[in-house]
């Protein structure tokens, strides 16, 4: 899949939809009426200001952007100072998969809530540092499924593409009796056409 359709800002990007599902801690700023059930620890009808909640990112970004924000977003803990320090020390040693499945995607959204832009720097730094490792993995791992376990979704996609390409090059270098196959795009193109015709009939 080309990059153009698989990542935000693309309305149909599944990764973006999944990434914005992640919960973000936030504090309620105004009284929100009849929403007391969002805070299960108190049996009140209205949501009081100052309550700490964890809401999905898509909701938080809408609620916090208006002129009188309903909630004040905070950084999830993996983007806070302590975790940023870990990443700064050695990003390669970190199990990013454990941090978050969508570390980069989520981070690109979260950094709007970070006024000092440290998150932005951390994301770039992490990606740059881990790229070398990623390339080495893709070039040298021989069908070992465990190597992917420390990568987040975005890295995993890069890894899979690179790994496939590397395997193709290696097979080409070793033996040549492979036949040229029709490109995926061509095959899919035909299929889609046929489906469209059936739909019309």
């Amino acid at each position: 899949m080309s990059l153009r359709v698989s990542y935000s800002p693309n309305y149909y990007s599944l990764d973006d939809i999944l990434a914005t599902q992640e919960r973000v801690p936030c504090k309620v700023a105004l009284t929100i009426q009849k929403m007391g059930h969002l805070n299960p620890s108190v049996a009140e009808r209205d949501l009081q200001p100052g309550t700490s909640l964890e809401l999905p990112l898509w909701l938080v970004s809408e609620l916090s952007q208006s002129r009188a924000p309903l909630v004040n977003p905070e950084l999830p803990k993996i983007y806070r100072e302590a975790y940023r320090e870990i990443l700064k020390a050695d990003a390669c040693a970190v199990d990013l998969h454990k941090f978050s499945l969508f570390f980069y995607e989520l981070g690109s959204h979260i950094k709007r809530f970070d006024k000092k832009q440290d998150v932005h720097e951390t994301l770039l730094h992490t990606f740059r540092t881990r790229f070398r490792q990623l390339m080495d993995l893709a070039d040298n791992s021989m069908s070992d499924p465990t190597v992917q376990q420390t990568l987040d979704i975005l890295e995993r996609k890069l890894f899979n593409d690179a790994y496939k390409a590397r395997m193709k090059l290696n097979t080409w270098l070793k033996d040549s009796n492979t036949t040229i196959e029709a490109a995926n795009m061509v095959i899919n193109h035909k299929k889609r056409k046929r489906m469209n015709i059936e739909d019309l009939l």
């Binding site: 006024k115 540092t129 890069l158 593409d161």
Partner: protein, 209 residues
């Protein structure tokens, strides 16, 4: 792109063969081949040469550069320079692979040639690797890729263009909260911009895998 597709492109290179048969020539869309006269050298595309060789109808004359002295010189140059040196052919890997595979008997010291070409390839690949990591890590703005051959460029795809696209995306997504404007209409406008999807920041080139 697949290496096989690049091989297909590389097969258009002309090589000189000495046919062992007589023929008035073959007329193809891409041009005429021949006429073939036994033991008179003639230039044909690589794919024709390989196919004739497989039928044992010709001897292939290896290209000038497929010669130990020249290759050793290239290897030394490649070792010494920090950049990439000019290769004798844009498809040297394809040519070497096909010719060494089907006509090792026509190439003098074929085994040594095979080894040295592999050496040159390895040196160049390690240079590519180190410069790619440097490019990403130090966030340089450009990389000099002169004298790289197609097959070598293809070896860093799709990982390099995709990684650069992601970096670009991460840099470009808005860093701070949009400035909170005082009137509602501009707020709505800014909202619309943030959800529209033809504002794709991905660079138009190098997006295919």
């Amino acid at each position: 792109m697949d290496p096989d597709e690049l091989e297909f492109l590389g097969e258009k290179v002309y090589v000189s063969i000495i046919p062992t048969f007589n023929n008035d020539g073959i007329h193809l869309i891409s041009g005429d081949l021949g006429p073939f006269r036994a033991s008179l050298p003639v230039n044909v595309p690589l794919w024709v040469a390989v196919s004739l060789k497989r039928q044992k109808k010709c001897k292939i004359q290896p290209p000038d550069w497929m010669d130990m002295q020249k290759l050793e010189y290239i290897k030394e140059q490649e070792k010494q320079s920090s950049g990439f040196t000019k290769m004798p052919s844009d498809h040297y890997m394809v040519e070497a692979k096909l010719l060494l595979e089907c006509a090792p008997d026509d190439i003098p010291r074929a085994d040594e040639v095979r080894t040295i070409i592999k050496d040159i390839w390895d040196i160049r690949m390690s240079k590519i690797r180190s410069s790619v990591t440097k490019l990403v890590k130090n966030s340089d703005f450009y990389a000099a890729v002169d004298n790289l051959t197609v097959m070598e460029i293809n070896s860093v795809r799709p990982i390099l263009p995709h990684a650069l696209d992601h970096l670009f995306r991460m840099k470009n997504t808005e860093k701070t909260r949009p400035t909170q404007s005082s009137n509602v209409s501009s707020f709505l406008l800014s909202k619309r911009a943030s959800t529209s999807f033809h504002l794709s920041p991905v660079t138009s080139s190098n997006t295919e895998d």
